[in-house]
Amino acid sequence: MFDHLQERFERAFKVLKGHGSITEVNVGETLKEVRKALLDADVDFKTAKEFVKKVKAEALGREVLTAIQPGQLLIKITHEELTKLMGQAAAPLELKGQPASILLAGLQGAGKTTHAGKLAARIAKSGRKPLLVACDVHRPAAVDQLEVVGQSVGVDVYSEPGVKDAVGIATRGMAKAKSEGYGAVIVDTAGRLAIDEVLMDEISAVRKAVQPQETLFVVDAMTGQDAVQTAKAFNERLDFTGVVLTKLDGDARGGAALSIFSVVGKPIKFVGTGEKMDALDVFHPERMADRILGKGDVVSLVERAQQAIDDQEAKRIEAKLRKNTFDLEDFLAQIQQIKKMGNVKDLLGMVPGMGKALKGMDIDDNAFMGIESIIRSMTPKERAEPSIINGSRRGRIAQGSGRSVEDVNRLLKQFQEMKKMMGSMARGGMPKVPGMRMPGRRG
C-alpha cells in the first residue's frame, strides 16, 4: 500500500528493529541515511552535518513507541526538527507606510520579474494599489517583460526604457508613487551574481534610494550547494527581510530552503508554484520538511494519523478486539477516524490491525459511504449484536440506507470475516495488540 519510499526507509532503518530504545550505535548507522537524504535534496554540506547532529541528540533517550517502527520515529524526529527550524521565523509581509515598498533581488533567472507580478497581484487584492518599478536596466527586453506582467495583473508599471541608471529610475518611481497615491511599490531588479561587485553596488544603492520595508531574496528551489554562499553574500549587502522560493512546482526537493534558513536565518515568506500570476503560496514549513526528506506522503500520513486517532479511542478498540467484542458501532467509529485522515486507500495501512483486516475487502473511498449508510440504518441493538439481523431486518435496513439487500448481506458477511481475522490475530499473540496506536506526542 505504501510505495517504495516506505520500503526504502524501513530498509534503511532496519538496524534499529528489535531495539526497545534508540541507542547511540544504531542511531549512528541510520542517521547516515538521513544525511544522504538531506544531501540528495541539496541541503548544504555543513548544514546537513549539523542537522544530523541535532537529530541524533534529540533521538537518544526517546523511547520507541510500541506500534511503530523505530525507523519511523527517527523520520518523525527528523521531520519535527526540520519543521521547527524552518518554521521558527515564519512571518507575513510587513507593509507599512504610504507607499509601502518591496525590493526584489537575486541571481539571474531566479524568478524576480515573474514574482514582482505575482506579489503585485496579491497586494492589489489586499486593498493597496501597487506600482511596479522596472529597474532591470541590463537584461534585453526586461522592461517589456515587466510591462507585460503588469498588464496581465492590471497593475501600473513605471519604466524608463533606454535609461541605464537603476537608482534614478527607482528614485523617480518612488516619487511618482508618493505623489499619485499608490499604496505599494514593487521594485524589480536585474539578476546578478553575488560576486559581481559592480552590480552588488548598484543594488545596494537602489536599496538606499527606495528604503524598502521588505527586501526579498528570490531564489530558485533547484539551487544546489551554492545557495548558502549566494544567500550569505546578498544578505551581507542587503540585509534582506525574507526569501521567495521559486519553481516549487518542479520536483526539486528544495534543500536550499533549509540551508538558507540555517545560515542566514531569514524567513521564507512565499513560494512560487508556477509561471502564472496566481501561482504564489505562503510557506508551509511542514510541507517543506516533507519535501526535503523526499517521502512527504509517508510523513504526512504519520502526522495525520496521529491527529485523527486519539489514544483513548485506540485503547478502547484494542480492548474490544482482545475480547472479540468489536461490533458494528465500533466499526462505524473506526470508519469515521479513517475518513478524518483523508485518502482511505493510503491510510488503511496506517492502522495495523484494521489495514490487514480490511485488505480483502477491496476498499475504495466511496465504498465507505455505502457501509456507513447501512450501519446508520441499523438500531443500536443491531449494531451491537449483528447476529440478530434477520431477513426482514435486512430488508428494512436496505430500504433505510437506499442500498440493496445484497449490499447489506455483503457488509454483514465481510464484517463477520473481519472479526474472525481480528480475533485470530489477537489470540495469536501478536507482539502488540493490533490497535491504532500511533507514535504519540508524548514521545
Partner: protein, 328 residues
C-alpha cells in the same frame, strides 16, 4: 585556477578571483593542509575529498562511486604524494565525463556544424525555466556567425512574457535574422516557419528557442515532441541536435531534468551556464556518466561573447580542491 583563468577576460577576473578565493577558502585551507607531502589515503583524507566534491554539487552517489574506486586503488598504492593522488582522482572523474576513447581529456568538446548538404542544420534548445536558453542561443549564434555560417533564429517561446522581444533584441545585436510570430501562437508553427525560411534563404544553421518548462509537466514536455516532429516535415533530419541548457547553480535536480528531457527529445548535447558564478556544476559528472551526453559549451556571463568551449580536464580541476591544481 586554470579553468577560470581561461574563462575570463582580465577585466572581470580580479573581482571574480576574489570572490572565488573567498568562497573556496574554508575547504581549500583544510585540504591544502592535508596535502603537504606524501600521505596515506586514509579516512580523513577521503572525508575531505568527499566534502569538496559534494560542495561542487557532484552528489552523494557519484562522490561515493569516485571515492570507492580511489579507495580500492589505494590498497595497491597506499602511500601517494599530492600529484599521484591528483592523477588518480582526475582519472576517476574524467572517466565519468569522457567515455570516448579516442578523445583526449584536454580536447574541447565544442560542436562543429557539419559541412552543408544543402539543407540547414538545425539545433533545438530546451531546458527548464530561466536557465539561460535564450541567452545561450544569442551566444551560439554569435559564435557560429563569426565562423562564417549564415545563422537564423526561431522564436518558438511564444509563452513567457516578452520572450519574443528578448530574442529579437539578441538577433539585432548579433546581426542574425529572427523568425517570429505573435505571442501565444503555436510554437510548432513558428518552428515550421523558421525552417521554411531557412531553406528558402539557404541558411546554414538554425537555432530554435523554446519556452522554459519544468520536466515534470507532461503536457509541456509532449509539446516539445510535437515541435520536434513538425520540423522534420521541412527538413527530414531536423532537428539534427537537441541541446539541453542546464544552470550551473542547479543541484541534484539537474540529473532528473537531463533524464526527462532526454526521454522526450533525445538530447544530444548540454550547455552549462552561469559558471561565472561561484557554483561549480558538478552534477554534470553524473549526467555525463549516466546519459552519455557531452557538454558542448559553457556559459560564463550575460554577453554574447561569454561562451566557452568545454574542456573536461579543466572542468574537473575546477571541481577539485585548489591545492590539486597548483601542482599537477
Amino acid at each position: 585556477m586554470g579553468f577560470f583563468n581561461r574563462l575570463f577576460g582580465s577585466e572581470k577576473k580580479a573581482s571574480l578571483d576574489q570572490g572565488l578565493a573567498k568562497s573556496k577558502q574554508g575547504v581549500m585551507e583544510r585540504i591544502s593542509r592535508v596535502f603537504t607531502g606524501k600521505r596515506r589515503i586514509d579516512d580523513d583524507l577521503l572525508e575531505d575529498l568527499e566534502e569538496a566534491l559534494i560542495l561542487s554539487d557532484v552528489g552523494v552517489d557519484t562522490t561515493e562511486a569516485i571515492l570507492g574506486r580511489l579507495r580500492k586503488r589505494a590498497t595497491w598504492e597506499a602511500f601517494v604524494d599530492q600529484s599521484e593522488l591528483m592523477t588518480m582522482l582526475r582519472e576517476e572523474v574524467l572517466g565519468l565525463i569522457t567515455k570516448d576513447e579516442d578523445r583526449a581529456w584536454t580536447d574541447s568538446t565544442a560542436y562543429r556544424v557539419p559541412p552543408s548538404d544543402g539543407q540547414p542544420h538545425v539545433i533545438m534548445i530546451v531546458g527548464v525555466n530561466g536557465v539561460g536558453k535564450t541567452t545561450s542561443i544569442a551566444k551560439l549564434a554569435h559564435r557560429y556567425k563569426s565562423s562564417g555560417l549564415k545563422v537564423m533564429l526561431g522564436a518558438a517561446d511564444t509563452f513567457r512574457a516578452a520572450a519574443v522581444d528578448q530574442l529579437k533584441v539578441w538577433g539585432q545585436r548579433v546581426g542574425v535574422e529572427v523568425v517570429a510570430q505573435g505571442m501565444g501562437s503555436d510554437p510548432a508553427a513558428v518552428a515550421f516557419d523558421t525552417l521554411q525560411s531557412a531553406v528558402a534563404q539557404k541558411a546554414d544553421l538554425v537555432l530554435i528557442d523554446t519556452a522554459g518548462r519544468l520536466h515534470n509537466k507532461v503536457n509541456l514536455m509532449s509539446e516539445l515532441g510535437k515541435i520536434k516532429r513538425v520540423m522534420s516535415k521541412v527538413v527530414p533530419e531536423a532537428p539534427h541536435e537537441v541541446w539541453l541548457v542546464l544552470d550551473g547553480s542547479t543541484g541534484q535536480n539537474a540529473l532528473e531534468q537531463a533524464k526527462r528531457f532526454t526521454e522526450v527529445t533525445d538530447v544530444t548535447g548540454l550547455v552549462l551556464t552561469k559558471l561565472d558564478g561561484t557554483a561549480k556544476g558538478g552534477v554534470v559528472l553524473a549526467i555525463s556518466d549516466q546519459l552519455q551526453v557531452p557538454v558542448r559549451f559553457v556559459g560564463v556571463g550575460e554577453q554574447m561573447g561569454d561562451l566557452q568551449e568545454f574542456h573536461p580536464m579543466e572542468f574537473v580541476d575546477s571541481l577539485l580542491p585548489e591545492s590539486f591544481e597548483t601542482n599537477p
